[in-house]
């Protein structure tokens, strides 16, 4: 860490007002910081894990959601006669016989106006899945087709088909941020450079499709649902259905990933609830893979234009930035089209800066957060720009970045609670063996090159949370911390935190997740890389509270005062005479029926500090100049995430995130028909998700050793940053290999071959 900042005592507030100890150096810890195996791994690899997709109830029915094949139309009639006659069909709901359930202010759940290909307007319930789909195909729908605009650049042109009544620009005007005087800064520069970059739509492509099984029992609705947060879905769904919170139960012991696409309630939740109530039987709705592409949202498409001024010594004197993002047809979720820009505003020291973000409404599905939303799109382009400018100045790209390093949040004029960016550059470069060649200098058709990219991610966890720890007679413990298990190993690290505080082995702590009826809520939904930073301080406090109570019991048993006892190495012993003591297990054995339940809260973040995560990726690629194929050979990824609670799981997050980022950089893209609004590659084969053949042989995860002091567990978060750093480093490595810049993601073979041809 650059320096230790003085945090208020509230951060370390423990049970009964006493402060928690500082955990300090990772090597002093017995459980935290160790590569404890992931819980549930065996269940997953043996196929025993039950995902919501696997839930089949007796007497279940199957729903098929009928979706618009038109980008913009008014549905004037739906003839259900043939569908209704099909044996096994139980219910057909259309805009003309369904209850008028508002979804947003702008549309009903089954609305006759459809504004993107894939918008749901009807549903069929049948005794089996095939019949439901067959009946959906038998619906005779009359569309009154209306003009549509599909691409964001088209949408902002005069005369474009109108999407929103007030015009196609989101909120009617650009959102502007400015500090200092960019014009003055450009005037002071030795070099002014201007460039435009684009990023494509990336789909989340969670392996488990979106869907749920809905069951009404009396007035209580249970959904086995693949989502990122059972409590968030429960709370919002209860409000939508006008049910008390405790009449909605959401269950998912496992989910097959979400990456942002399974956060909060979706239309299908309400549809499943309504259909199940209508047919009086459980209803299963799961998307097909084809339907999942146009309806489960995505990372937005963006067009980003920079102008940067630099002095000869590398000092950035001014920057302007313009982002045009694709926002979809509705106000709902439109904001997620224009979230990029924090990287530009924060990553490099720049006193004179102006950013302008512009949303374009189009007749396409709306974007939503996709792992690393905003920062990913932004950093993928910013980090090419920085590379380009460094080259123009004849500087090493790391030296240029270090020259413009800052440890202050320039938007809020606050110090960062911790920053491990310089260490990420240095340790990453060392691990990688950073020594880039002259661009395009490899001989032969297969050209290798290296690139670097920096990253940041906003630490969004600031709220309080709570957890409980129950001690059991044999010295094991049960952790009560409600959340969903979205696959990143949260449950493993939370048990480590409780075990560390209690001084017991990691596997002596159990936890179960993913059921609102059983688990009091700790984190409402797992998004924003915040689950561990929200939950772990509460878990630590709950364990500390249980420990406090256990020491109290030991004091009574040992005829001593609690304040004269301490828990060391699994023994509660006298501070003055360490030979007097009792084993942890012997004290818990004396609880009898009076089990100890410790409760704890996460203290709110201290004010006056900004929490951000940093890192740097280093990548080597090989480009086949005859086919245009790019193979990433290896990567080294340094991530300042605060304390690494479990290096094995941290490595796994970093590797998974890097690969997902690599997909966006090289292969993944939504190919749209500009006239009809149909996606032309809505399947796994043509979409371009990386496979095991594309994954580099080595992705080294590097811990720069930051210990953040804003939480009592010193964590910041690590789910998303590994995506944000991949693109820039890969794009720069491709340039270093072939000597030609590609500024339009994904960097596909076509683009490489065209650029090489143009250069030649």
């Amino acid at each position: 860490m650059a320096k230790e900042l003085k945090m208020p005592p509230s951060v370390m507030e423990g049970p009964a007002g006493t402060p928690l100890s500082t955990w300090g150096d990772p090597k002093d810890r017995k459980v935290v910081g160790k590569a404890v195996p992931r819980r549930g791994a065996l269940d997953k690899v043996t196929g025993r894990a039950v995902y919501p997709y696997d839930v089949h109830l007796p007497n279940m029915t199957y729903a098929f959601i009928v979706r618009s094949p038109r980008a913009h139309a008014r549905i004037t009639a739906v003839d259900t006669a043939a569908a209704g006659k099909l044996p096994g069909v139980r219910l057909v709901l259309t805009p003309f016989n369904a209850p008028k359930i508002p979804w947003t202010e702008e549309r009903l759940l089954f609305d006759p106006m459809v504004r993107f290909v894939g918008q749901e307007f009807a549903a069929v319930v049948a005794d089996d899945e095939d019949t439901a789909e067959e009946a959906a195909n038998l619906l005779k729908v009359k569309y009154d087709e209306l003009p549509a605009v599909i691409e964001p650049d088209d949408a902002l042109k005069p005369g474009a088909a109108p999407v929103q009544p007030a015009g196609n620009m989101f909120n009617g005007k650009p959102e502007v941020y400015q500090r200092g005087d960019p014009e003055k800064g450009f005037a002071e520069a030795d070099l002014v450079y201007e460039q435009t970059y684009t990023t494509s739509v990336q789909h989340h492509t969670a392996l488990e499709l979106h869907g749920c099984v809905a069951l009404w029992e009396g007035g209580t609705l249970t959904l086995w649902d693949s989502n990122q947060g059972v409590h968030m879905v429960r709370d919002i769904l209860a409000a939508r259905l006008k049910l008390p919170i405790n009449r909605v139960r959401i269950v998912n012991e496992y989910i097959g990933a979400g990456y942002g696409s399974k956060n909060g309630p979706k239309t299908y939740h309400v549809i499943a609830a309504v259909l199940a109530q209508r047919v009086g039987r459980p209803v299963r709705i799961f998307m097909t893979r084809e339907d999942n592409f146009p309806t489960s949202h995505h990372r937005p498409k963006t067009i980003q234009t920079y102008k940067i001024g630099v002095k000869k010594d590398g000092t950035i004197t001014a920057m302007t930035y313009r982002l045009v993002g694709q926002c979809g047809p509705y106000k709902e979720n439109a904001i997620w089209g224009v979230r990029g820009g924090d990287g530009t505003r924060l990553l490099y020291k720049c006193a004179n800066l102006r950013t302008e973000t512009i949303g374009a409404h189009t007749h396409t599905q709306a974007p939503i957060p996709c792992r690393g939303p905003g920062d990913t799109e932004n950093l993928y382009t910013l980090e090419i720009l920085i590379d380009e400018v460094a080259e123009k100045l004849g500087m090493d790209p790391i030296e240029f970045r270090k020259k413009n390093y800052t440890d202050v949040d320039q938007m809020h004029n606050e110090p960062y609670s911790s920053i491990g960016l310089l260490e990420s550059y240095e340790m990453g470069a060392k691990a990688f063996g950073w020594n880039p060649q002259k661009p395009g200098s490899t001989a032969g058709p297969k050209k290798r090159g290296s690139g670097v990219g920096a990253l940041l991610w906003h630490g969004t966890a600031t709220e309080q949370s709570q957890a409980a720890v129950v001690l059991q007679a044999d010295g094991t413990a049960q952790l009560l911390a409600g959340m969903s298990n979205i696959g990143c190993g949260t449950e493993t690290v939370l048990c480590q935190v409780a075990a560390e505080e209690l001084g017991i082995p990691a596997d002596a702590v159990t936890i179960s997740l993913g059921d609102t009826a059983n688990h009091p809520y700790t984190v409402n939904s797992s998004y924003g890389s915040r689950t561990v930073s929200l939950a772990s301080p509460a878990v630590r406090n709950a364990a500390a509270d249980a420990k406090r109570q256990l020491i109290g019991l030991a004091a009574r048993l040992m005829n001593n005062k609690a304040e004269e006892l301490e828990l060391v190495d699994g023994r509660i012993r006298s501070k003055s005479d360490s030979s007097k003591g009792m084993a942890f297990k012997d004290v818990t054995a004396k609880m009898g029926r009076e089990l100890i339940i410790g409760t704890g809260r996460r203290p709110a973040n201290p004010t006056g500090y900004s929490v951000e995560l940093f890192g740097a990726h280093f990548v080597e690629v090989e480009v086949d100049t005859e086919t245009g194929h790019v193979q990433v050979l290896r990567a080294a990824c340094a991530h300042d995430c605060g304390r690494w609670l479990n290096p094995r799981l941290a490595e796994s997050q970093i590797q998974g995130g890097f690969i997902q980022g690599m997909g966006m950089a090289l292969t993944e893209e939504r190919i749209m028909d500009r006239r009809s609004g149909h996606q032309l590659n809505a399947n796994l084969h043509e979409y371009g998700l990386p496979t095991s053949m594309d994954v580099p042989a080595q992705i080294v995860a590097i811990d720069p050793g930051t210990l953040d002091l804003a939480t009592n567990t010193n964590v910041k978060g690590m789910g998303e940053p590994p995506v944000t750093g991949a693109g820039g480093a890969i794009a720069n490595a491709v340039y270093n290999a072939i000597g030609v810049r590609i500024r339009d993601y994904p960097i596909t073979p076509n683009k490489i071959l065209a650029a090489l041809k143009a250069k030649a």
Copy 2:
């Protein structure tokens, strides 16, 4: 209540040391004392409830336990060749190839020595249930048969076949209790009467058979198991298997009753765990109905002899009592054969008393507690004796009972914490219209008669317990209280208790039970009518703690001091100005993520008081003197159980218990072959369980209005007493109808016809 006793303040200790308020008169309560519908009732009547019997896992195998057809034998060989060759058979374990797993000090899990018909000695696992049973039938077993003794009276005769090495009397001698000088008492009596009565084996006959599904996942064992207490089974099973508690998970959302037969671990739990580990697949073991009779234990058979001395005015001057109970072959569970006697020792004032209980070891399955163990067998006979003596004295049986009433525990010389016995006599008699005829005085062949019987049951709940209450943003609450849901509505009344304390409606509180992985333990097992009296005070305290925290939050929001606020009618308001306040829901809405978790403990019972439950049953029967058939026409049952938390559920317990007691009084009996030790009626058809045709049209439940002060919820318990009172009242009514005493339960048509013939 006879009088209000001064309890120590610890009984009412609430959160943060402040006392809880006294709940006082039932009419002052809003939720507690109301006939709130039973939770889960809809699930049960619609067949949606999932019992352990309903659990089927992918790749499951089926086990069949092989049982001895000999009452006493040494197994010398088991030829498994044919069984092993049957397609689909996965494993055959016998005494000769199974691991030597001790079950008790006296026997192994698969022991070559068998000491009762039904003792398990081998198991087969196969891909389906039929194959497993077929393979079991293919085993060729060689028995070295040994002499056996089946009946308790035979077992105690000189020269009887030896069961235990030290002789056939349990513990080698009678257990004797004496106070005063019985001989002196008999000398003072005007009348001395001596009589012997017998009771038969009663089977629990839970509708769901005994069994479980066992699954190993890594080192963790999960059992979906039909038991009365997931935590007790978990804890003991973990100890037996030498696993940490948190590597054993026991699950049962519903169970199809237990009545004492599903309390704690059974051999089949360990067998299932061993088999599942051996075959590497889930194993399902459920008894057949035929196997369930000889292996799921039962209420013991007893022979009870009384001698009583009374003065002309009805004063009892002395009693002696001798009980011979059947204890089975082993020390294990033998104690349950000789638990009768507390009724004799406590129910009537008697200064000179001696009781002697003698256990007889036999080559039959051991007894275990069966709803109302000990007291039921005892009261069924004592209450005939009392009726006989009252008649001899020419006294009304109620007057005779009142004459010998006492409100002191004569064994411990302590006052009862509460006693509603006199009220039970009076309110019961009034509700019933008590006005018995002269015995046998009805004209015609169908003779009607009325009878009364008193009862008591020992309140065994004294330990602490704990629970937690989580408040949710919309003003609903989640109750965390771990136990099994054995079907008596515990979960409903616990939610009522939490709701009452929080001032919210009953259905605003949810609870879920029956999963050790999710529910911290409150009551280890539901037995002894103690679940509600153990759990409800902890639940009340947890709700009070949540309320305290919520008032603290309201104080911050209202800029007031917490001690100046109170929760009244769903509002937290100023004590000095009731117009200033906030609705409960508006305060919970302000919790944000900082949910309130209240925790609470049950204070230990106060010392110096004895907690017993009392009551009186009144019954009218019609006896067909031509067929001997007895039809119970109606009953009125007054039960001093402390506060009735839910009169609908209390009535349901009383009706169910009365019917079960009626079965024991009139029809249920184990018919044994005295030579072979085989039960001759091990099926529902011949065993004689009452059916809907036997149930009286009216069973009135009467609340004598006792409010026990030994717990903060004023409850004592009510699961078992309704059984204990039925027999004596029915037997006395039969006598009142026909004028002849039957002293041998069950009072079957054969016995009635024989007695009538003997009288004539």
